[in-house]
């Protein structure tokens, strides 16, 4: 089922949970609503489910306006943040609930629940109650319960928030595979960008009740549409005076700029590079991260994070090092762009690292 949201607005007192939100998710897509906590993502999800009603705007499911219809008539399945399993019911009864309220026959219910238990690997736990389940098992039950009535749209609110970091990774993959297998259109809420990137085909970045950007994880990572997205998604450092960095002199002062670690190249100690190309920065912190050394350095008055291969000898805090800034995200006059550095003519050379474009 496709979702279309048009100009959705909802306020609670003075708090604007949704401010003229519009987006579209086509049928069969696995989309993530991503943004910091308190940004209004959950409210959006609840409005789509019919658990909350918008002050204005329209919600269309498969092109049909569902503004006035109850959750019952929307054909959705909802997985709650803390699962909200019925504590007085067994796993079987939890999964059967949605079928029972739809007055399905006993045989149909038993067949469908058995199917869901098989699908989610909950065999043998049918008679347990929620308090006898681990976090991961609870999530599976919540998932099975939401899917049992065969919803055409699955909504998940922070589905991994209540789970151990260790198990979370496993469950993400499991959930993604499961949704693929079932083929249901899915919209989930998360504040964790790594999770969004791993699970979603498509992301909608929400901040202060507004849509900041929509696109695939790759698009959003490579071309952030706003300073907020640049700051929030993936690692970035702010450059307050980009016009002071060599190769970016043409930029006007007052524009906002950001660099990712791989935009900033740390030159090898013996590298022969003309002085007009590099900046000298001071090392603030060095930390081992497995595949690389993370280096925080002071560059033109800003703290910038970059990294070098784990095989290289790391500099020490306080050392001056030479760096070349290759790219920046620049935002000025409401527009954003990816700006490459000006390469002085005749000085093109092979870069030490390969940069994605």
């Amino acid at each position: 089922m496709s979702i279309e949201v048009r100009g959705l607005t909802k306020t609670f007192g003075t708090y604007k949970a949704a401010d003229n939100v519009s987006f579209h998710v086509p049928t069969g897509r696995l989309a993530g609503l991503l943004g910091p906590s308190g940004g209004g993502k959950t409210t959006l999800l609840r409005m789509i489910a019919g658990l909350e009603f918008p002050d204005s705007g329209d919600i269309l499911l498969d092109g049909r306006n569902v503004n006035g219809s109850s959750p019952r008539d929307r054909g959705i399945g909802f997985v709650f943040q803390s699962y909200a399993l019925f504590r007085s019911m067994t796993v079987f009864e939890n999964i059967a609930f949605g079928l029972k309220v739809r007055k399905k026959s006993k045989r149909d219910i038993e067949r469908r629940v058995a199917e869901m238990i098989e699908l989610t690997g909950l065999g043998g736990l049918e008679r347990r109650r929620p308090h006898q389940l681990s976090g991961g098992q609870k999530q599976r039950v919540a998932f099975a319960r939401a899917l049992a009535p065969e919803p055409r749209l699955l909504l998940l609110d922070e589905p991994f928030a209540a789970i151990d970091a260790k198990v979370r990774k496993e469950l993400r993959i499991w959930l993604k595979d499961m949704i693929r297998k079932v083929g249901v259109t899915t919209l989930f809420v998360t504040h964790d960008q790594e999770e969004a990137m791993e699970v979603a085909d498509e992301m909608i970045v929400i901040h202060q009740g507004k849509v900041e950007q929509q696109g695939t994880p790759e698009e959003i990572y490579r071309k952030p549409a706003s300073p907020f997205v640049a700051r929030f998604f993936g690692e970035t450092s702010v450059i307050r005076h980009p016009e002071r960095i060599k190769g970016f002199e043409r930029l006007t002062s007052g524009s906002q700029a950001f660099v990712r670690p791989d935009f900033v190249e740390v030159l090898e100690e013996g590298a022969q590079v003309p002085q007009r190309e590099y900046e000298v920065a001071t090392v603030l912190r060095v930390g081992f991260r497995g595949k690389h050394w993370q280096i925080d350095l002071e560059l033109a008055g800003d703290t910038v994070t970059t990294d070098i291969d784990a095989g290289r000898t790391p500099p020490q805090p306080g050392d001056p090092i030479r760096v070349i800034v290759h790219k920046m995200y620049v935002f000025e006059n409401g527009g954003g762009s990816v700006v490459e550095r000006d390469v002085p003519s005749g000085t093109r050379r092979q870069l030490v690292q390969a940069f994605p474009n």
């Binding site: 959750p71 709650f80 019925f86 309220v101 308090h131 006898q132 939401a146």
Partner: protein
């Protein structure tokens, strides 16, 4: 298996270190326990035992006769009838009030919560007097009631009214914290799956609070059967007619029929004991659920 052993080992260590940090010397501990137990025995245990000893001091035959003589039987019947009306009424009211207060936002919510507490704050005698002022011969509705030959005060309806008034907080007071701590997530889950109001209430809300509800009902019942002050004011103490068990005990006592008084009292004490046992069972149940949840959580971490 190895997992569970290491878990219990860890618990023991944690427990021991807590004791070391906050514990008193063994002597101080023993003295404290002794003082507490002695006080309990004196103030609660001794009177309790006295009731049964006195009740049975002239043998089982006299005990039985005291309970089965016509006035006692009539008092017992009246008490049971009063409770049979007051308890279901207050259960329905308590559930409705707790549901409204915890699951919805509405104007006047604070007022409702305060009003629920009112009978606890008012002396029972005043509660009884209120009804006399309302329905008594000189009361607001007195003349109208007299015209239509309806007796409220010094009759069964008055006793029921006073009892309902005094006991109406019990169920609501038990349920509100339980429902509050459970929130509305499960109800929302049910709604998202297509359940409607009544289904949500019967299949989700009510089963979740069944222990709290049961305890509230038992407390309400204990008070409904044991209420003295308010009922005493409205009853008129007509023997065999408007005497409830507690009032009957008072009359027997005033007439120096101590054995009979204690025999009837023993019924009420027995009721109190049943109430306390029910409370313990409920708490034990809750603890077991929590313990089990914690164990599952720890086991899943071990793996």
């Amino acid at each position: 298996m190895a997992g569970s052993i290491s878990v219990s080992g860890r618990n023991v260590r944690r427990y021991a270190s807590v004791r070391a940090a906050t514990g008193e010397s063994p002597l101080a501990r023993r003295i404290l326990i002794f003082v507490a137990l002695a006080f309990l025995a004196l103030v609660i245990g001794l009177p309790l035992v006295t009731v049964f000893v006195e009740a049975l001091s002239k043998g089982w035959a006299v005990y039985w006769a005291s309970l089965t003589e016509p006035d006692a039987r009539s008092a017992l019947k009246l008490t049971l009838w009063t409770a049979a009306i007051a308890v279901p009424l207050n259960t329905a009211f308590g559930v409705a009030a707790a549901w409204a207060v915890t699951k919805f936002q509405f104007a006047g919510k604070r007022l409702l919560v305060t009003l629920i507490d009112l009978p606890f704050a008012v002396s029972p005698v005043i509660s009884g007097l209120v009804f006399v002022l309302l329905f008594g011969a000189q009361g607001w509705f007195g003349p109208w009631l007299a015209q239509h030959d309806i007796r409220v005060i010094f009759a069964f309806p008055g006793i029921v009214l006073a009892t309902v008034f005094v006991t109406f907080p019990f169920v609501a007071k038990e349920l509100i914290p339980v429902m509050q701590s459970q929130g509305t997530a499960e109800e929302e889950a049910a709604v998202s799956m297509g359940a409607r109001g009544w289904t949500v209430f019967w299949r989700v809300t009510l089963p979740n609070v069944k222990w709290g509800l049961l305890y509230g009902v038992i407390l309400c019942n204990a008070r409904a059967m044991g209420e003295f002050g308010a009922v005493s004011v409205v009853s008129g103490h007509i023997r065999g007619k408007t005497n409830t068990l507690p009032l009957h005990v008072e009359i027997l006592y005033n007439e120096y029929q101590f054995t009979a008084a204690f025999a009837v009292s023993s019924l009420l004490v027995f009721l109190a004991l049943v109430t306390m046992i029910a409370k313990s069972v409920m708490e034990w149940n809750e603890e077991r659920t929590e313990r089990e949840a914690k164990r599952v959580e720890e086991e899943s971490h071990e793996h």
